[in-house]
């Protein structure tokens, strides 16, 4: 039996069992080893899968039914019966999603069935970024890619990948080991480099802490838009719902500090509008006031970072009045189960420090490792600990690179300054299933299967217990694409540097050994069967706080920037921009502006009035890094002088729904980065604004921002 059939068999077992788990009838289970023609029309199967949209790695269930597609055979259109995915839902057995799913998760179906997916490997024939490619066979493509890798200084080979832990990352690591190049790096998007660095300092552990907000009585969130995105939006939304109304007679409260009226700010009982970059000053100021309150016996190293803070100076730098800081600190001190959620949804030049200072407040509150507090990161699953880390010097390495391999990230969009390096590299190889901003620069595009078409094993960014989500294969690939792990193995073979690819099944049995040592008491085959039945595995939650924090370092408060500043942010619907080619998401009203099929520049009413701007007028925003033109949305909740724009539009190339639509805010933001981690910052960037004639139209779902007077009957 070859690998594919083995995987299908496993997938069938999983489908059957999950079908059972969801209360469906056993008769509906159709083994996928029988031809797809015999999947009865109208019967549904539910197969576990893993959502690939963000770092949360939610476990999902895919609803699979008989369907038909038209394909060309010998120049004639014929109908082919296939098994198709009809819907995605959360997997109730998954500890992260708990059976729920966000807008982006649902819309990932439109990645699988996107009309602009690449049909097979492509070779560039025109100039870089011209979009001129020709179809090429896999054999030729791999031979050519292998030639590019041979004879090049291995240190000049750069692999840019997503920061996701799992089997894919392990295979990338094995490939790079085999060809002798440094580890893959992410590009600072969705990898939470600032949060990870802060966690090392504050909790002495690598990884991301878990905030137990479901049991909190008061949540203060500084910089973390945990309901609109961030590390795990579905998990934290579930926990938020419970915090508000899941407990008898106890409603938790939320205070949110951010420089934007985000979804989390919408939901807060009180929003503290922080000047962009002032998050560190705010955290230090709150800690300073807390020291004078009745608080827990905090470690001396933590107390020392807050002791000498000048409250007035910190308040001025944060943009939050001293009175509001005192009130917040006093409420935290009085709460029976407070917690401070520390994050950098918008990365600043001082984000690692800001997150560390905010997270350290939890030591002052005595809630580290307590119910309703913060759980420091658990130990990673050893067998899969090799996720692509983030190297702050990735852009310099890109400048030097002879061969660039790109998987799952879009540097040409998220870091527009990288375009010149991409244009200048000797060889660029992309594994993107789409002709996106970055693969447009590629010499070879070796398109990956869609996540729904391949076996997966991914470790979530945060989880209530040590866990991973896994899936077998359950629908045949639509096109002549290939899983990237397989392509890497073929590539290494062709370059005469072979490595042993680890399959999802092998990873599961390796993980079984790790779990067995913890005394789970299951056999390897039972473990594997259960993993594919349940769509993953979860162990016992660990609640062991470290005895002391790590080396916290020093903190410096920078004064508030003067003038009008610009910041980019990740919206709930488009994330870092990858959601823009899904029509459902383009037609989903932007929560802030209600915009459809486009994103505006958001500015406050006073600034708009000063410039004579109303909704829909177009402006040119200019910084020292670049300029963009976009329509204006006058946001009643914008901080005066802070102009915001969501990532999502402005793709030079990303299929029919996204290409050439709107503007990319990163062009204006420039290449500033968090000073400790090198993670690209999303502002604040000083800008000038000028009104321009004409321009793009602002299409809004609701043009009305204020409710009408009560209806007269």
């Amino acid at each position: 039996m070859d690998r594919r059939n083995f995987v299908k068999l496993v997938g069938t077992a999983s489908g059957g069992a999950v079908t059972g788990a969801c209360g469906r009838q056993a008769e509906e289970i159709i083994p996928l080893l029988v031809p797809e023609e015999s999947v009865p029309v109208g019967a549904e199967q539910w197969h576990p899968s893993v959502c690939g949209e963000c770092s949360a790695a939610c476990g999902t269930l895919a609803r699979v039914m008989a369907s038909e597609r038209e394909i060309e055979v010998d120049g004639e259109l014929v109908r082919q019966k296939i098994a198709a995915v009809k819907k995605l839902e959360g997997n109730p057995l998954d500890p992260v999603s708990g059976g729920r799913l966000c807008a982006r998760g649902h819309a990932s179906l439109q990645s699988l069935y996107n009309p602009d997916r690449l049909r097979g490997p492509l070779k560039r024939v025109g100039p870089r970024a011209s979009g001129q490619f020709e179809a090429v066979s896999w054999d030729d493509a791999i031979a050519e890619a292998a030639r590019a890798l041979t004879g090049v200084d291995p240190d000049r080979i750069l692999f840019l990948a997503r920061a996701r832990e799992g089997v894919r990352a392990e295979n990338i690591a094995r490939f790079l080991d085999a060809i002798g190049t440094p580890p893959a790096t992410s590009i600072g998007v969705g990898d939470f480099a600032a949060e990870r660095e802060a966690s090392e300092r504050v909790f002495g552990r690598s990884g991301l802490p878990l905030y137990e907000i479901q049991d909190s009585t008061l949540v203060l969130s500084i910089g973390a838009d945990f309901l609109g995105g961030w590390t795990s939006p579905v998990l934290y939304s579930r926990r938020y719902g419970h915090m508000r109304q899941g407990r008898r007679e106890l409603r938790g409260r939320l205070i949110h500090a951010e420089s934007r009226f985000s979804l989390t700010a919408w939901n807060a009982d009180r929003w503290l509008p922080v000047w962009p970059g002032g998050e560190l000053a705010l955290a230090l100021a709150i800690g300073h006031v807390l020291l004078s309150e009745q608080i827990a016996d905090a470690p001396a190293s933590v107390v020392s970072i807050f002791a000498d803070v000048d409250l007035e100076q910190a308040a001025a730098a944060s943009g939050v009045p001293v009175e509001a800081i005192r009130q917040t600190a006093s409420e935290l001190a009085q709460a029976s189960a407070p917690v401070v959620v520390a994050g950098a949804s918008m990365v600043r030049q001082n984000s690692a420090d800001a997150v560390a200072a905010a997270a350290a407040l939890n030591w002052l509150l005595g809630c580290v490792g307590k119910p309703g507090g913060v759980t420091p990161p658990t130990e990673p699953l050893e067998a899969l600990a090799r996720q692509p880390g983030f190297s702050g010097d990735w852009s310099e390495r890109l400048e030097q690179a002879a061969v660039v391999l790109v998987d799952g990230v879009n540097p040409a969009y998220n870091a527009p300054a990288s375009q010149s390096a991409l244009a200048g590299a000797e060889t660029v190889i992309s594994f993107s299933p789409f002709l996106d901003d970055t693969s447009a620069f590629a010499d070879l595009i070796l398109p990956d299967h869609d996540p729904l078409e391949q076996a997966l094993l991914e470790v979530p960014a945060v989880s209530p217990s040590p866990s991973f989500a896994a899936a077998g294969e359950f629908v045949a690939p639509l096109y002549d694409s290939r899983p990237t792990a397989t392509v890497l193995s073929e590539l290494a073979e062709a370059a005469e540097r072979p490595f042993e690819e680890i399959t999802v099944e092998e990873a599961v049995s390796t993980l079984h050994s790790a779990v067995e040592s913890a005394g789970s008491g299951t056999s390897a085959s039972d473990f594997e069967a259960k993993v594919f039945q349940d769509g993953g595995w979860q162990g016992q939650p660990s609640r062991k706080p470290p005895a002391t924090p790590g080396a916290l370092g020093t903190f410096e408060i920078a004064s508030k920037q003067a003038g009008v500043v610009f910041q980019a942010y990740e919206s709930p619907q488009f994330g870092s921009g990858s959601g823009a080619n899904r029509p459902w998401l383009q037609e989903l009203p932007d929560p802030t502006s209600s915009a459809l099929w486009g994103l505006p520049v958001e500015l406050d009413p006073a600034t708009a009035a000063r410039l004579g701007l109303v909704n829909g007028d177009n402006v040119r925003i200019r910084s020292e890094h670049g300029a963009l033109e976009a329509p204006v949305y006058v946001n009643p909740a914008a901080i005066p002088g802070v102009v915001s724009m969501a990532l999502g539009q402005g793709h030079a190339s990303y299929g029919r729904y996204a290409s050439g639509r709107g503007a990319n805010p990163m062009v204006v933001v420039g290449a500033a980065h968090d000073e400790r981690t090198g993670c690209p910052a999303m502002g604040p960037t000083p800008i000038s604004i000028e009104k321009i004639a004409g321009g793009a139209r602002l299409v809004q779902f609701s043009r009305q921002d204020r409710d009408l007077p009560p209806h007269r009957v």
Binding site: E89, G105, W266, L585, Q586, L596, S702
Partner: protein
């Protein structure tokens, strides 16, 4: 005892459920997961930018959001709004062909085959949750593969709206029948309710006092949208508890 149980089961089978939804606005985050879940479940087509600019998008469920106050003391009020499945539905009496009516389970149903497209119903709906198909819907292949075979594609010239996922209610009933048991609370879940990350939405039989939805309706925070119009919606909102 056994006889009594059988009798109860028979009575249960005959009881007509009265479907209702409760939405806890203190849990709802406004994330719009329900909006995409609905489009996916119900084959709701996208209109594209030009039609969207004319206000012709179809969102069977939407998040209404209104700002209140001024910066920095600004708040936003928002709620998911879909067909309110009114007991006294203003859309029903104006339909000249009875294409829309209330069924025995309290659902405001829309018969696409009967609809002749007068759009009177949409004009008369105070919640603006009815949508007219100006054109036949199109999906660029292979996006058509995502279509749910349980839900009809609405042709040009007819109205469409939220059905409370009537097809999912039907499937839940068939599953329960096949397993020889009564429909249990929570078996029937519209796509929006199923998806909601904050678990803000509850759906069920309001005539069953033990159902989750009936319990939510007993909460002191429960009310209806534009209650004063007397439309008697089957969607109940639990107001924010701040």
């Amino acid at each position: 005892m056994a006889e009594q149980t059988t009798q109860q089961a028979e009575q249960g089978a005959e009881r007509t459920p009265q479907w209702a939804m409760a939405i806890d606005l203190d849990r709802c985050t406004g994330c719009e997961a329900c909006v995409v879940a609905c489009a996916s479940e119900n084959n709701v087509p996208t209109a594209g930018e030009d039609q969207a600019a004319m206000g012709r998008t179809k969102h069977w469920i939407r998040i209404d959001r209104y700002y209140e106050g001024e910066f920095p003391d600004i708040k936003v009020k928002y709620r998911p709004v879909m067909c309110q499945q009114c007991d006294e539905a203003p859309c029903e009496p104006v339909c000249p062909v009875n294409a829309t009516y209330q069924n025995a389970e309290g659902l405001n149903v829309q018969i696409y085959n009967r609809c002749i497209g007068t759009r009177y119903c949409a004009n008369n709906c105070p919640y603006t949750v009815r949508f007219f198909n100006w054109f036949a819907p199109e999906w660029a292949a292979p996006l058509n593969l995502q279509l749910n075979p349980d839900v009809s594609i609405r042709p040009a010239g007819v109205m469409e709206k939220c059905t409370f996922c009537a097809h999912k209610i039907k499937r839940a009933k068939l599953d329960a029948d096949a397993e020889g048991r009564e429909l249990a609370d929570g078996d029937a879940q519209p796509a929006c309710v199923q998806s909601c990350p904050a678990e803000a939405m509850v759906f069920g039989d309001m005539s069953d006092a033990d159902s989750k939805v009936a319990k939510q309706l007993g909460s002191g925070r429960s009310g209806q949208l534009l209650e004063s119009l007397g439309t008697k919606p089957r969607v109940f909102y639990l107001e924010k508890a701040d």
